[in-house]
Symmetry: C3
Subunit: 247 residues, 3 copies
């Protein structure tokens, strides 16, 4: 085990011997970390909480958690989790393989994230949010959950697969964003968005089909669905499946 001598790893934490732990990182007892994972400096993993269910924090194989990040117990991540710096993930977050959380991401827990979901920097996810596979979320997007704050009512958001939510957008409680939808930058999404629709503005309104946006690479191709042209970092067999389904 490549644990830096200044790191504090609790004797009951279950780390694969291949796990790397950076300096000044604290790992509490109720943590399971699989093979090949690298944890940066100044992190704290497995914070205990009365809001959890007693289950451990589980980090899948081949993950990278960058410095100054904080994870609570009672969350589960698939293989290949990659975080930026200073992310915060509260209890009862479930995510599939290949989840990426950018720097400053703030996940409030009690939410479900599919496979290969990618958050850019500073995304805020309220409790009860459900994000399906292959969704993209860009910087400073906020998923809310209280329809009349403050209250005890929680209305989670649902984002369907392949949707993309651009920078500085706010999604209001209970909204469903459809498959392959595109939310333009700076939008306030107050109602459901249909599959393959573009919405922009505050409050966001419908601007048509995503297929009308052209790729600005000189090719003349459509920019959406994005999985026709953008494959960076996805497994090859996954991409092959996407492309054959689109044919």
């Amino acid at each position: 085990m490549n644990v830096h001598p200044t790191a504090l790893v609790h004797e009951n934490a279950r780390l694969d011997p291949s796990v790397v732990v950076g300096p000044f990182t604290v790992i509490h007892d109720n943590v399971v970390i699989e093979a090949g994972t690298v944890i940066g400096s100044h992190c704290e993993l497995g914070i205990s909480t009365a809001l959890g269910d007693g289950s451990p924090l589980r980090i899948g194989a081949g993950s990278t958690i960058r410095s100054h990040s904080v994870f609570y117990e009672s969350s589960v991540f698939g293989a290949g989790l990659v975080t930026g710096h200073r992310v915060t993930v509260r209890e009862r977050t479930q995510a599939g393989d290949g989840f990426q959380i950018g720097t400053l991401g703030d996940i409030q827990g009690h939410c479900r994230i599919g496979t290969h979901v990618r958050f850019h920097s500073n995304v805020h996810v309220g409790q009860q949010t459900q994000i399906d596979d292959f969704v993209w979320v860009f910087p400073f997007v906020v998923f809310t959950n209280d329809p009349h704050p403050p209250s005890a009512v929680v209305q989670g958001i649902r984002v369907r697969k392949f949707a993309a939510i651009a920078t500085m957008s706010t999604v209001l409680p209970g909204v469903t964003i459809g498959e392959d939808a595109l939310i333009g930058a700076g939008s306030v999404v107050t109602r459901d968005v249909g599959d393959g629709r573009i919405v922009t503005g505050s409050p966001a309104s419908d601007r048509g089909e995503v297929g009308k946006i052209k790729l600005q690479d000189g090719s003349g191709r459509a920019a959406y669905p994005w999985r026709k042209h953008f494959h960076r970092g996805y497994p090859e067999d996954l991409v092959a499946g996407w492309l054959s389904a689109l044919d």
Copy 2:
């Protein structure tokens, strides 16, 4: 005193013997921390600054400061301060009992906060902001202070009691937000908001009385004033006083 052996607590810092200090936390000399307070890992408290007045950082009894947080000297907090992770609080911040600051909160100092004020994640408070008792501020709200940036003119904001400011709103310099007012998500508040009014939009405009919003819990009750139905975490006698005043 439950100071972790890796923590660095200056010998002149005045911590009650019951205070808990987490690993890798630095506490400078000009700090007073009252009984029952818990300080997380990787914090730095009491940073000295020429912008202070020489007085200590004072943290009231029974407080919780979560990991990676930074506080300067010359600020005073009442009992029961609770912070998320990585909050930053500059000098000359004064806050009453029961102040909550969510993860990533950034308080620029020289401001006054009442009792039982609650900030959710990533709230930014410019200098000279004054926030009265029982106010709620939701994620990614910014309180500004310069009417024509950059300049040396500072026009602080005033938020009156029980007001709620929803996610991703920006409040412009010198604005007063009235008692029990509600600022909708994504608003840019450019002028004063009256007591009990709803405003939304960019620039924000008046949408009527808060009383017209119904609680989405099937009860048919009004959602505002919120203290009629939402009491989580407030002292019982405080709530009793609220309710009798509303009768």
Copy 3:
């Protein structure tokens, strides 16, 4: 060298003997730090990356890097860099003298910053952004770069000298913001902004010449160009040059 005994400074890092390094800070091997610089606690400097060019992280003389900040290798900063807490700067960022980055700033790398550029808190800078001398950027501003996210197309933003971008504004890919322009709070800037123009709104639209805004200090003077009245922290000879050029 005033390196705190808990700091971890690699033996190949090249720090001037006058450099101060705070507790629990990690400095990797590929780092050059010039005289008089002060590094706070809990930082990590010089993170190696396959996205760099092998060159070191260079920090100019007389800089201040506050706590919990993270810098990668292969970036260069002039003299007098000042950061807030928890800034993140990725590889291949180039900045001139006097750069200020507020707390929570997130610079994605591969960008160019002029001299005496000032970012307030929580500014996000996408790759390929170019910011000229003396620009001001206020809290929660995001510079994007992908015209149809997600894609492999990168269209960097250009901000010309003396421009000011107010709080919570989003600048869309490929936009040029003119010299002395003012972007109002909460704007979504979707097209180029001319020299000395004001734009506000979402999408941002033209509101006239900056010269029409009056200083709210009772003087009756114009608030823009701001360098006529605001000089805090700039070198005297620089200010003298500004003023003589404006006469």
